[in-house]
Symmetry: C2
Subunit: 158 residues, 2 copies
């Protein structure tokens, strides 16, 4: 969206490998639902501030029909900590806190708060760059199920 | 972004007047800060689901330098109620609940939850279509100040 122009803020420079548009496929599951596959696009961009903007959307692989969408902001700090806030199209909000490792290109997040959720109690998100591809695993705990894998995907930068 | 194609879900049809890109100017203030003016762009779009996607960004009028940004999802229900979830570039999340009036083209929201905020206790947002322009007023309460106007703007559809 605002891509290109402004210089990169030093706070986000360890995570510049994320900037751009990523596309790929993912797989979801949980004890309470049938497993499913999806297409996905993630965009990361910046406007010169110490914040990375984030949007994500998924679609059904066969029909291209939209499924989930979410958006928010990644706020890395020089000490290696990071805060991520996310609003989901399903009506949830998340405050995620965690850490990043610039050498291993891994970001580990754990929900500090999940808001407006009747069942979801906890969400963890781990993003890792593997052979130039962006991999993530989302784990979820609900009022009935302990923390376990819910979503995983592998995306290539466009 | 996804604009154009899919049919409008009946849940969001009372709010289709919002869909599109709005641009204009706003003014901010609060007892604890100097008042300021800003340029602003708001985008509303849909993908055929019962949800309106929302992004907003503001900039300094003189320099065009980016200021605030936020994004989220509006979820109107047929009974006239509406839920809005927002992630802010400042690291806050909001769950807003309220009501819309399709005849008067007014949407009234009040925070059900403000997350990851050290000072902000409550946020209200009123959006109203006035002579074809989109007007909003944001009020805010903090740990030190009671609910009072913080932001107001007037935007024209592009």
């Amino acid at each position: 969206m605002e891509g290109g122009g402004p210089p990169i803020h030093p706070f986000i420079s360890p995570l510049t490998y994320l900037l751009g548009t990523w596309r790929g496929e993912g797989e979801g599951g949980f004890p309470t639902i049938n497993s499913f596959k999806y297409g996905e696009e993630i965009k990361f961009w910046h406007t010169g501030k110490p914040v990375i903007s984030y949007t994500q959307k998924t679609w059904k692989l066969e029909s291209g029909e939209p499924m989930h969408a979410e958006s928010g902001y990644w706020r890395p700090k020089p000490d290696g900590s990071i805060e991520v806030v996310i609003a989901q199209s399903t009506g949830l909000v998340e405050v995620q806190k965690g850490s990043y490792n610039a050498d291993n290109k891994i970001v580990k997040l754990k929900s500090d708060m999940v808001g407006n959720a009747s069942k979801v109690k906890e969400i963890t998100r781990v993003f890792e760059l593997i052979n130039g591809e962006l991999s993530y695993v989302v784990q979820m705990a609900t009022h009935l199920n302990s923390l376990q894998p819910h979503l995983r995907a592998l995306l290539r930068k466009l």
